[in-house]
């Protein structure tokens, strides 16, 4: 068990080292910080002095070490565009993205599970076929098109819901939430649905596949033979076991959703981390890009490692395989 833990954490650390090296290289080689920071007609001596004071004359390894040190202490540099610490910018934008991802996850689970079960129980029924066809359309429709269509219908034509921003937010300490006001909740609806649709197809297909697997297993056939009520068999016995992988995948997908929220946030001008990042990309604001990369990379690596370790805890067979 300890071996699994150590090897998995080692792997995670290695990936993070690679990610941090990429962000370091971006910082160091993309554009010359001395040229950006010094005044227009600075002399060669002045530039050399600035180079020394920034530590850019040191060997590369030393510079990378310092970068790692600064990063670990939470100093990710200053945004070129906003002239504010990047850590602060990300902390401000984090609640917006996380609330959006939470709403999308809840929506996709509460729709995806019943639809998946429906498709598995009556695979040749009209509803199941319709759902299957819709899911193919779902994979083929990019998120931004869904968003634009929702805006056209519900914001422009009907005028029921706002089409951009977070509405009124309430500050709870450093966390600003849109859950406590009517306009905040209304604003969450369209972007939440847009992001959920991307997730919905995946959950539906997974629930359907798992449910079909479980329904053909021996204990379900035995339960049927015992004459237990169908409802009890389907929802108490089968669904419970079918949901285990769904929970894992939903967990793993949270990182993906945060990254994918970039698109939704752009369509709805949602002031989250994704919008921050996409603006940084178009303005070549390298500290913000590097910080976002590091942050999302860390999130991914952490989620993956935790899931793998939990698996090893729950299922002893995996311990032997990966050790």
């Amino acid at each position: 068990m300890l071996k699994v833990l150590i090897s998995r954490l080692g792997q995670a650390a290695l990936v993070m080292l690679v990610v941090s090296a990429v962000s370091f290289v971006m910082f160091r080689y993309v554009g010359d910080p001395v040229a950006t920071l010094s005044r227009e007609n600075a002399s060669v001596e002045e530039k050399a002095a600035l180079r020394r004071s920034l530590g850019l004359d040191q060997p590369l390894v030393v510079q990378y070490g310092r970068f790692l040190g600064r990063t670990l202490s939470g100093d990710l540099g200053i945004s070129y565009r906003n002239q504010r610490p990047v850590t602060q910018l990300i902390a401000e934008r984090l609640p917006a993205t996380l609330e959006l991802v939470l709403v999308a996850t809840i929506l996709s689970l509460s729709l995806g599970i019943p639809l998946g079960v429906l498709c598995a129980l009556k695979p040749h029924g009209v509803a199941a076929r319709l759902v299957q066809a819709l899911s193919l359309i779902g994979i083929s429709t990019p998120t931004f098109v869904t968003g634009i269509v929702l805006i056209l219908v519900f914001a422009v034509s009907l005028g029921w819901l706002p089409s951009f921003g977070r509405g009124q937010v309430v500050d709870l300490g450093w966390w600003s939430t849109g859950f406590l006001t009517v306009s905040g909740l209304k604003s969450l609806l369209l972007p939440g649905i847009t992001l959920a649709l991307y997730q919905l197809t995946l959950i539906m297909r997974l629930v359907r596949a798992e449910m079909i697997d479980v329904l053909s297993s021996d204990y379900i056939r035995f339960a049927r033979a015992r004459g237990l009520p169908t409802r009890y068999i389907h929802f108490r016995l089968a669904l419970r076991n079918a949901l285990m992988p769904v929970i894992t995948v939903t967990g793993l997908q949270i990182g993906s959703l945060i990254a994918f929220a970039i698109v939704t946030e752009t369509v709805f001008q949602w002031p989250g981390m994704g919008l921050l990042f996409i603006q940084a990309v178009s303005f070549v604001d390298i500290p913000v890009m590097a910080a976002y990369l590091l942050f999302v990379g860390l999130l991914f690596v952490l989620i993956n490692a935790v899931v793998d370790i939990l698996y090893a805890v729950v299922d002893p067979r995996l311990r032997a395989r990966s050790a």
Partner: protein, 304 residues
């Protein structure tokens, strides 16, 4: 055009349902229209002299106040939307196809090497693939185009945009090819004909390319269909986010981005028609790809 006419027959003989045949015809028709854009488009959207601002934002011909000269209306610069869409589809398909080609070449090569030699080379290639796959496509693609933007100064970015996009998409997609080819190569390498080829002293390169590759090609083709749909979507997403094709040389995604700015003023057609074309194209390719996978290689079906 000959292939176009014989395709339904081919699909029928393979026992494809009507929906797949319709999708195949639709996909081929759209690709053909896009490739022949310069011949069939009513106007040339790349020719600055062909459009005037006075015609900007005209609604489609069938709507009220529509102008019969512009079937699907005009965009914000007075370009004929239908022509812009045809040229845009050509850009989208070219970039998607380029990305699939690059990813397939890279993935097949690395997959062959990993499967044939095994050991450290195998471990290295597959670990790199694992790490890449643990990040979503869109994030990697944004990262690549972000770095490219920082390296090339402003004007050059627009010039290099197609190439940057192809690399940005292929960096994620090669892994799937490598994984499939590696597994197939390992199976083939253990078979007698490959062992015999080794014994008579053929060079590894020849064994891999002439003996193993033809046997793994069918899986590669099946993956390519589905990946083409995915690549076109990724390109559209990047262009929509403003890090893809520039407005002077728009793809379908860029057209939707331009249209998105006008949605609030009730000018729906600039965004909606290119979006519709994109969805129909990708849907048609996906239907054909799904069926090909189930028909020829059900093993490739992943839980998604």
């Amino acid at each position: 055009m000959k292939t176009l006419a014989s395709t339904p027959g081919l699909f029928l003989r393979l026992g494809a349902p009507i929906s797949v045949i319709v999708a195949a015809i639709l996909a081929l028709l759209m690709v053909a229209c896009a490739l022949l854009a310069s011949l069939i488009a009513p106007y040339d959207p790349t020719d600055l002299a062909s459009f005037e601002l006075i015609n900007a934002e005209l609604p489609p011909a069938f709507a009220t106040d529509g102008d019969p000269r512009f079937l699907l209306g005009t965009d914000n610069q007075g370009r004929d939307l239908l022509s812009a869409m045809l040229y845009g589809a050509r850009v989208s398909i070219a970039i998607g196809g380029g990305a699939v080609l690059l990813a397939a070449t890279l993935g097949v090569t690395l997959g062959l090497l990993a499967g044939y030699y095994g050991g450290r080379i195998d471990a290295l290639i597959m670990r790199i693939g694992d790490v890449i796959l643990s990040f979503p496509t869109i994030l990697l693609a944004l990262l690549v185009s972000g770095i490219a933007r920082a390296i090339f100064p402003g004007a050059a970015t627009a010039e290099w945009a197609p190439l940057i996009l192809i690399c940005a998409i292929a960096i994620h997609e090669w892994v799937q090819y490598a994984r499939t080819v590696r597994a197939a190569t390992m199976v083939e390498t253990a078979k007698d004909y490959v062992r015999a080829a080794k014994v008579i002293g053929l060079p590894p390169r020849r064994i891999m390319l002439r003996h193993i590759l033809p046997n793994v090609m069918s899986s590669v083709l099946v993956i390519s269909t589905i990946n083409l749909a995915a690549a076109v979507l990724t390109e559209a997403t990047l262009s929509f986010l403003g890090v893809g094709m520039p407005p002077t040389y728009p793809s379908l995604g860029t057209l939707i981005r331009i249209g998105n700015e006008f949605v609030f003023s009730g000018i729906w057609w600039i965004a909606l028609f290119p979006a519709l074309a994109l969805v129909i194209l990708v849907l048609a390719v996906n239907i054909v790809g799904d069926w090909l996978r189930d028909r020829f290689n059900p093993k490739l079906r992943v839980k998604r």
